[in-house]
Symmetry: C2
Subunit: 144 residues, 2 copies
Amino acid sequence: MGTVPTLPEAECRRRLAEARHLVLATVHPDRGVDVVPVVAAAEGSTVWVPVDTVKAKSTARLRRIANVARDPRVSLLAEHYDDDWTQLWWVRAHGTAHEAGPAELERARAALGRRYRDYEDPAVIVGALVVALDRWTGWSAAPS
Amino acid sequence: MGTVPTLPEAECRRRLAEARHLVLATVHPDRGVDVVPVVAAAEGSTVWVPVDTVKAKSTARLRRIANVARDPRVSLLAEHYDDDWTQLWWVRAHGTAHEAGPAELERARAALGRRYRDYEDPAVIVGALVVALDRWTGWSAAPS
């Protein structure tokens, strides 16, 4: 299998912060795991994942929020796929998440408003998960 | 929040089977969840996820295999991201997984060999997860 081209932590942090979207995995009490694509904004070891009124949902009380209220352990994934497998890479981070309080929601709105044009009016962000990351792993088919 | 544009199950199955890559989420005993991009081949409610010698790894005994041996519950995600959020969609399936036995590995090699040029020589596939899906959920920003 040879040497594994893992990515250094600084590179993992950079790629996770720059990704336009991530995949969020949470613990589901019955199904074991839940996994959903999300948009996000990162600052240091903090990642904000919004709940918005832009993308249609059945409820603002999303399953992802209910999941982390029961078990705060989450994982976030950034990845690049190409049928040319020499171009593959992914970065995964683990941490814990909680629902944003009022002050945290304001910080989330500011960070997310700078990243996505649909969040120009931050009032569309009605809630957020605050993720505190403590472990990064990255893999790349090619040396970075 | 209006009406949620969920996708019918047949459409979920089609999009999951056609996706060039998926995200696999498994239950990790300490970290709660693990999440990793994978290539895959689907037939009916079965999805094969290979372990190969093409993409460099630290070991053929991957964490994803160890995870499902302890807890078989998995989730697979296919998704499409675009900064134009009217184009977003995702499909998630839940099920259980186990490590392929010899006959299952042959079926996995055949199915995967038809999908990916790097699997033209199926001997590079040295193992596989067999995922039996039993629940599909899909979301699309636009009606399908």
